[in-house]
Amino acid sequence: MTTELASGSILVVDDDRVNRTLLARTLERLGHQVLTAVNGREALEVLHGRQPDIVLLDIVMPVMDGVTVLERIKGDPALRAVPVIMISALEDFGSVIRCIELGAEDYLQKPFDPVLLRARIRAGLDKRRLQQLERARVRDVFARFLPEPMVEEVLSRADGNLRLGGVRVVSTVLFADLRSFTSFAERTPPDQVIAVLNRYFGEMSDAVLDNGGTLIAFLGDGLIAVFGAPIQCDDHADRAVTAAREMLRDRLPRFNDWAREHGYGDGFRMGIGMSSGPLMSGNVGSERRLEYTAIGDTVNTASRIESLTKELGYPVLLSGSTLDLVKDPPPDLVYVDEVTVRGRSAPTRVWGLADTTTTTYASVERAETT
C-alpha cells in the first residue's frame, strides 16, 4: 500500500552543489516546493523571510555548520517548531546523535535511499500539519481573550501543554461593572438578559483588546482585564486609562443607544476601577478547561476601587499607583480623595476621570442611594 505524499515547502541547506541539486530535483519531482541555501547563515536568512515546512540540513558546511544552525533554529521561538532533518555521511554519527539531542527530527544518510527519503519527508510533513492544526485551534482559544498581535508571541512562549508558566509582572488591572443590571435582569426574560449582556461585553471587550489589554474574566455583569500581562509593556497604565475612557465615552453611549432602540430601559451606567502594581499571571486549570488568570493584591485593590465609584460619584476611578505609572497624565484627571481600601492598612489616594456626564452621574447615583 502506498500513501500519497502531501506536498510541502522544503528548505535544502547544503554547501555541496551536487547534493543540493540532487535533493532539489528529487523533491521537486515528488511535488514539493524547494528552497535552497548554500550555508548556515544563508539558511537562517531564508528562514526569517519565509518559513518552510521542513528543513533538510547538512552537518559539515563552511561559514556556519549544521549543528550551529540547528541550535539557532531551536533557540528561536519563531522557528523552533519547524522539523529539521539532518543530512549526514556515515562517519558523522556522533554529530547526528548530538543533533537529535538538540531537537532534530531525524537524519538522512548520503548517498540517499529514495524510500527513506520519502518516508522521512512524509513523517516531517505529517508532524508539521499536526502542529499547524493544533496551533490554529489554540490560536482560536487565545484570540478570544488576547489582542491579535499578542497571540503569536504568547503561542511561542507556551509550553507543550499550552500553559503559560506563572510570571510576576507589574501591570494595571481594570474592573468594569454594569450598574443596576441585577434589577433589570430580574424583570426581563432570560434570553433578553443574555442578549443585552453579550452586546455590552462585546463593546467592552473590544475596548480592552483594541488597547492591548488581556481579558481575564466575565463575572456576572462585571469584566476583569489586565494591561501589561502576559506580555509586559511600559505603557500599561496609559493603555488602561485610554480603554476606560473609551468604554465610558464611546462604547457605553453606543450600547445604551442600542438598548433604548430595543426597549431595554433608559440606559445603563457603569463603574470602572483601576490599580497598578505587581501581580502573578499564568494559565491555570485542568487539561479540560484552561483559563488565563491574574492573582495578587493589585487585583483585589482594583476591585475595591471599582466598588468605590458608586459612593464617590465618579464612573472611573484609579489608584495613585496607576497615576504614578501613567506617562502622560490626562488633563481630565481629578483628585478625588484619600480612602482606606478594605484589606489594606495604608490609605490609598484615588483619582477620577472627569467626564461631561460626571455631574449627572453623581447626582443620579446620590439620588438613588437616598
Binding site: R17, V18, R25, T26, A89, P111, F112
Partner: protein
C-alpha cells in the same frame, strides 16, 4: 601502507553501475537532471581538489577536510568507490594529523580525477538504460 594502497588506488576507478542506476531512479529517470548533476560534479571537483592541496600546503586542515568530505560524498553518489575511498582517507587524515604525510594520497586523488571525469562525461553523453 601508502605504497600498497597507492598501487590499488591508482587503478582506474570505474563507476559502480548499481550506484548509477540507483541515482538515475532517484531522479525519476530524468536524463536532464542526471546531466545537470554530472555537470555540477565536474565543475566543482577541481575547486575541491584545489582546496585539498591548498589546505595541505597552508596547514588549513578544516578547509582540506571539508573539501575531501564533499568529494567523498559526490564520489559515492556516482559510484566512484575508489575515488571516494581516497577522499575518505584524506578527510580522516585532516581530522587526525592535519594532513601531515598525506602528499601521496593527494597526488593519487589528483591522478584519479581525470579517469572519474572521463567516465562521468561518458555517462552524461550516453543514454542510461
Amino acid at each position: 601502507m601508502s605504497g600498497t594502497a597507492g598501487r590499488l588506488d591508482d587503478e582506474v576507478d570505474s563507476l559502480d553501475p548499481g550506484a548509477v542506476r540507483a541515482l538515475y531512479e532517484l531522479l525519476g529517470r530524468d536524463q536532464e537532471a542526471l546531466a545537470e548533476l554530472v555537470d555540477a560534479f565536474v565543475d566543482e571537483a577541481p575547486i575541491r581538489l584545489g582546496e585539498i592541496r591548498e589546505g595541505a600546503e597552508h596547514r588549513d586542515a578544516p578547509l582540506a577536510g571539508r573539501a575531501a568530505h564533499t568529494l567523498k560524498s559526490n564520489g559515492l553518489t556516482f559510484g566512484a568507490v575508489g575515488f571516494a575511498s581516497l577522499c575518505r582517507r584524506l578527510e580522516i587524515a585532516a581530522g587526525e594529523d592535519g594532513l601531515a604525510g598525506s602528499h601521496d594520497l593527494i597526488e593519487q586523488l589528483e591522478r584519479q580525477w581525470p579517469h572519474v571525469r572521463e567516465q562521468l562525461t561518458t555517462l552524461r553523453d550516453r543514454a542510461v538504460t
